[in-house]
């Protein structure tokens, strides 16, 4: 089953990617890790991302083996530096 997810990039990752967001299409079942892999294939800037970046799905931190669904918002988060 095909799915489309919106992927958002922040801070240094947005600089590496050259954009703040992208759309990724992939077949379900799929995981956050699959989304990262697809980015690496489609975006040269994504190859500079860490192997296992911190990620969130629908505004909540998620592991790379977490499943994604059609319409999800995935975010790749550089090391958190708040406060």
């Amino acid at each position: 089953m095909p799915a489309t997810v919106r992927v958002r990039f922040f801070a240094r990752y947005a600089e590496l990617m050259g954009c703040a967001e992208a759309t990724v299409s992939l077949s379900l079942p799929a995981t956050v890790g699959d989304v990262v892999q697809r980015l690496r294939e489609d975006f040269p800037g994504a190859r500079a991302l860490p192997e296992r970046p911190l990620a969130a799905v629908n505004l909540k931190q998620a592991k790379l083996d977490a499943r994604v669904q059609d319409g999800d918002e995935v975010a790749l988060l550089p090391p958190i530096a708040g406060g």
Binding site: R8, F10, A11, R12, E15, A56, L59, K60, Q61, A75, L77, P78, P79, I80, A81, G82, G83
Partner: protein
Amino acid sequence: MTHLTRDVLSVDRLVADVAGPTFGGTCIFLGTVRNGPDEQGVTAIEYSAYEEMVEAEFTRLLADAHARWPEARIAVRHRVGTIPVGEASIAIAAAAPHRAQAFEACRFVIEEVKRRVPVWKKELRVDGTEVWVDPHGRPTSSPPVPLSASRRGGTHD
């Protein structure tokens, strides 16, 4: 924005948010932008955020704090944008019937913010360079920067 603001943080407003007649102690934490001996001429820090997730994470974080200290009342605001040295980037107020709960709740919130809330900072230095801060010490900067610089936060620890 509820917990995020681009304005200078007001401690008075934060304290007013948690004030109540049953509270015997209020603990306030301010995180301020620093240019100490370990920094290399930091003039300001540019804070950016995943704003929607920051709000969601603050909601979860404050619910966790409420579960631990149900009698406490907590308010927190994080500033984003360019913040000059000496000004606050985060302000937390925790009021509770007794001081121990106020201190504990306040400490809990700042520690969880540093662990969970998706905010990033870029040091702006007097020599014109800009460096992403990685609190875990991994090199992150776009321009060439000594590895020894990557551990510094430029803010309170």
